[in-house]
Amino acid sequence: MAGEVFLFGIRHHGPGSARRLVEALDALKPVAVLIEGPADASDLLPMLADPDMVTPVALLTYAEDNPANASFFPFADYSPEYQAARWAVRHGAALRFIDLPASDRLGASDGDIAEEIAARAEADPVSHDPIGALATAAGYDDGESWWSDVIEENPATGPIFAAVADAMTALRADEKSLSAREAAREAHMRIEIAKAAKECDGAVAVVCGAWHVPALAERRSLAADRELLKGRPKTKIKATWAPWTAPRLARASGYGAGVVAPGWCAHVWDMRERDRAAEWLTKVTRVLRDRGHFVSTASVIEAQRLGTALAALRGRPAPGFAELREAAIACLCNGERAMWDDISAELLIGAGVGAIPAATPLAPLLEDLQRQQKVTRLKPEALERPLTLDLRSDSGLMRSTLLHRLNALDVPWGRLMDAGRSRGTFRENWQLRWEPEFAVRLVENLLYGSTIAEAAGGRLIEAMGKEAELGPLATLVRNAMIADLSRATEYGIAALETKAALTSDGQSLLAALPPMADILRYGEARAGTVEHLAALMPRIVVQAALALPYAARNLDAPAAAKLRGALLAADAAIQLAQIETDVVAGWRDALRALMNDDQATRLIAGTAARLLYEAELLSADHAADLLTRMLSPGTPVAEAAGFFEGFFEGAGQRLIHDATLRGAVDAWLMTLDEESFTASLPLFRRVFSALDRTERRRLMDALFARSTDAAKGYRLIAGASDLWPAHQARVLELLTAGAAR
């Protein structure tokens, strides 16, 4: 006794076909539901009905020995496959996947996959989303609008799925030969359908992409189909559910099919029979209002009317996605496309995140970690343990990369002890400690990818996308580079470039320079590609140089101190990165302009003068002149003190060695009356407190001219010239004896 087979050609992630499918299943009441999906993951299907399962989720299959070789099959609320699976569980029907097992796809060697991708790219537009292709051909932007206009609202055609099957038969009529993989897939499905029909007693519903309907309906000999399946690759695979996000639905992967506008699809699904246009426009309005735009209810009514008029003008029964978009731009966004683009990401893509039940089998990230722990011979231990890595050795580099990646995933198994100091050197000191909750955190990261490398990259990319400030962004790029995540690094550098171009805030431009210099140096130690960055850094230096004079004006004390720190760090970075000389010259010119700019905050002007002095671009005489002028009695004491602090803070030692400079300062100090001197005392203290005791003594000695020759501050004891030759001979003897051993 064989069951009767009913084929339902659907549009992957098509809310229209999902709704019709549920209705059709309700009417048919099949005993078995077969779904196009990897046959070896069938046992996971009933979990879709778990109340803890929140869409979007993805079926994740990966090769056991290499989780990077993985494919995802996302499901959204409005995916017909998801609705079919839920229907089957609710009604107790048998539920099965019938497509080629995942082991086939994952077992294929790289060459095959590349071929397949190429083949798909050729066949893509029609075979992948035939309904979308038909819609595009009819001048629609959106397959769903076409589906509802042509398939659902056309009273002439009979039952919907028959109409779809007819359309596909026509489309496939003049098809060229199928790729081997496509042929095998359809053969596999035919075999499975036949098997199910034999086993079951009643209706068997087959839910598959519309494209496959004609091929599955065809009668072919079982033997011929078996022949097609011979010699297909195989590998051990594992399958599980992974939480998914709406933005990722928008990307093409597996059966994902790249939903163009998940937000719109979800809306169409949620609305069912309600007024789709009005509610969509209300949603648009709400988003616009949230962003602070003023949109009145009357405008929404007008948008609705315009949408209807546009649909009439284009000969469509109801306003679809394109009409509503244009109406929203004209009536709600004041015609500004930019305003629409601004809200469209939120509206069309959304931010929904899926969740999976706790009972979901194993997590590939944990497995990947275990494997990498084995490879790198790092054991998770609950006790704290120090670890020193030499980055020149392969094993050291591998361990360091793993630890950095885990840090990017917010799994701080290792903490870098001398962070900030060891960069650019070949040694890293870690403190390792494994906490049990790390495993949980790791599983949460499944959202970003199925291996540690992928997930870390994905997570950093997300963080970079959200980062508004240039400095922290550059730090993220550095982290990505240290963790050897090339995709995230590339993305980050591109983001840096855009951000750098759009900012004119001197402070944030300066803040970006130190991490960038680090990256440039790291690039050498880590053999990463830094070419792009090497071009970007000079550009930022030029921009910062142009922005500096404006940034240094009218600052209060805390802001000036902050800018001073940034300026010093940036200058150090510029020297470190060894960039082109004319760019450096531009930077120095900016410093010079700063120094001579009367409007610049004094502290900053002092700092600029000091940097130039250190770079030997300001001669000692000039510096002394400058100091004398800046510190002359005509200058208000507060300003003079600011300049003084800018010049000397953290560089008090200069005074010991530099007599001209010292003279200038000395002369200035002597001009101060008692009151101003007392007022400036804390400042002097701050400058001189950086000197240690010996240095302070040497400075005093120098000031009071206790010594005139080379060894300033030290006096020869009496008779030293007689004793010295004997001492020297003994020292030499000791030294040579040491060398002989």
């Binding site: 003023f294 009145s296 009357a298 405008s299 007008e302 009317r305 315009l306 008029a309 546009l310 009439a312 003008l313 284009r314 000969g315 394109a322 244009e326 109406a327 731009i329 004209a330 009536c331 004041n334 015609g335 500004e336 496309r337 470039e497 855009t498 750098a500 171009a501 759009l502 004119s504 550009r539 030029v542 921009q543 142009l546 922005a547 404006y550 531009g586």
Partner: protein
């Protein structure tokens, strides 16, 4: 031979309009063509009898569809865009296509008052017979309301905000009260308003929100591709130079391409290859301004430079177009020169002379 310098659209394209009108299609009340025929009239195509319709607007068809659909719903249409984006041209042809009459125009300026929008008085009549309908002098708006035609407002934002707001009642209630006579003019079916306005210009009055929300807004963009823009400018510069009796130097096309490249990059906020993002100056940098820069440069070349068009002569004209805000725009231009133009071949002259000028 016609003595008029330029004919209105409905006369120049009378044959096309007639051919289109011969076809069928549902026409909203007062329309001479169906909405779809109006779109064909603007975008070009074929009439039902095979007559070729020339394209009047080269660009995105969706924009024209939105504009026509707006007018079909009795909502007023506001065409927005920087100068030189064919706003008035589109408005004229829309009026010609829809009602066959594009001559009901009110040119708005800072000096436009309410009498020019609503109605004026014939004072001789007024003194002789007192207030009456006969003493009223109708404006294009009033005539359009009474005859169910389209009235066009050119440069709506250039008239004062208080005068703009006279339109609110007309747009929402489709009637214009005449309190002096205790009566009102009611708009006939088919009446509507098309307004054009600059969204980025000095000397304009912001539309009040009350008025703005009575319009559906369509923004007409600048030309998409550099080639298209260069072609428009070369053609227009040629025509204008001829009009002004300026001999056009040989290298005009090359220099236009360079000026357009600079304008487009500054305007769009990124280099043409998309690799470097830039800041944009406060001015619009429209195609029309590029034309003005070229004409200025040619004039300077003719009278002061023995007819040689050089980057130096163009640069001084360009500064005026780019730097509208002396502090902000100078910084933007300076950054552009240092980060982009400095290293680009063929632009050395522009880099040197622009750097000198700022």
């Amino acid at each position: 031979m016609n003595e008029k310098l330029r004919l209105p659209a409905e006369e120049s394209y009378a044959a096309e309009l007639k051919a289109l009108a011969a076809g069928d299609g549902h026409r909203p009340p007062g329309w001479a063509l169906s909405p779809r025929q109006v779109v064909t009239y603007l975008m070009g195509g074929k009439a039902a009898d095979g007559t070729v319709i020339t394209p009047k607007y080269v660009g995105d068809k969706r924009l024209i569809e939105t504009a026509v659909a707006t007018l079909a719903t009795d909502r007023a249409l506001l065409l927005l865009g920087v100068p030189g984006t064919a706003k008035s041209w589109v408005s004229e042809h829309l009026a010609a296509g829809i009602t066959g009459n594009s001559t009901l125009v009110i040119q708005c300026t800072a000096g436009t008052d309410e009498n020019q929008i609503r109605y004026g008085w014939n004072y001789a009549q007024l003194l002789a017979h007192g207030p009456s309908r006969d003493a009223l002098v109708p404006t294009p708006l009033m005539r359009a309301m009474e005859s169910g035609k389209l009235c066009r407002f050119e440069e709506l934002t250039r008239m004062g905000s208080d005068v703009q707001d006279t339109l609110i009642t007309v747009l929402s209630e489709k009637m214009m009260p005449i309190p002096e006579l205790n009566t009102a003019v009611y708009a006939q079916r088919g009446f509507n308003i098309i307004a054009t306005a600059n969204n980025r210009d000095k000397g304009v009055n912001e539309l009040s929100s009350a008025l703005k929300r009575r319009f559906n807004v369509v923004v007409l963009p600048l030309p998409d591709s550099a080639e298209e823009e260069v072609a428009i400018i070369v053609k227009r510069v040629g025509e204008m130079a001829e009009n002004l009796d300026l001999p056009a130097p040989k290298n005009v096309a090359d220099e236009v391409a360079r000026v357009v490249a600079i304008f487009r990059e500054l305007r769009s906020g990124s280099t043409e290859d998309g690799k470097v993002a830039l800041k944009s100056p406060s001015g619009g940098l429209s195609t029309a301004e590029a034309i003005a820069v070229m004409i200025g440069g040619i004039s300077q070349a003719t009278f002061f430079n023995d007819g040689k068009l050089t980057p130096e002569t163009l640069a001084s004209n360009m500064i005026g177009a780019v730097v509208k805000d002396p502090v902000q725009d100078t910084a933007v231009l300076g950054e552009y020169l240092e980060t982009v133009l400095k290293k680009r071949r063929g632009f050395e002259g522009y880099y040197a002379s622009l750097t000198d000028l700022i």
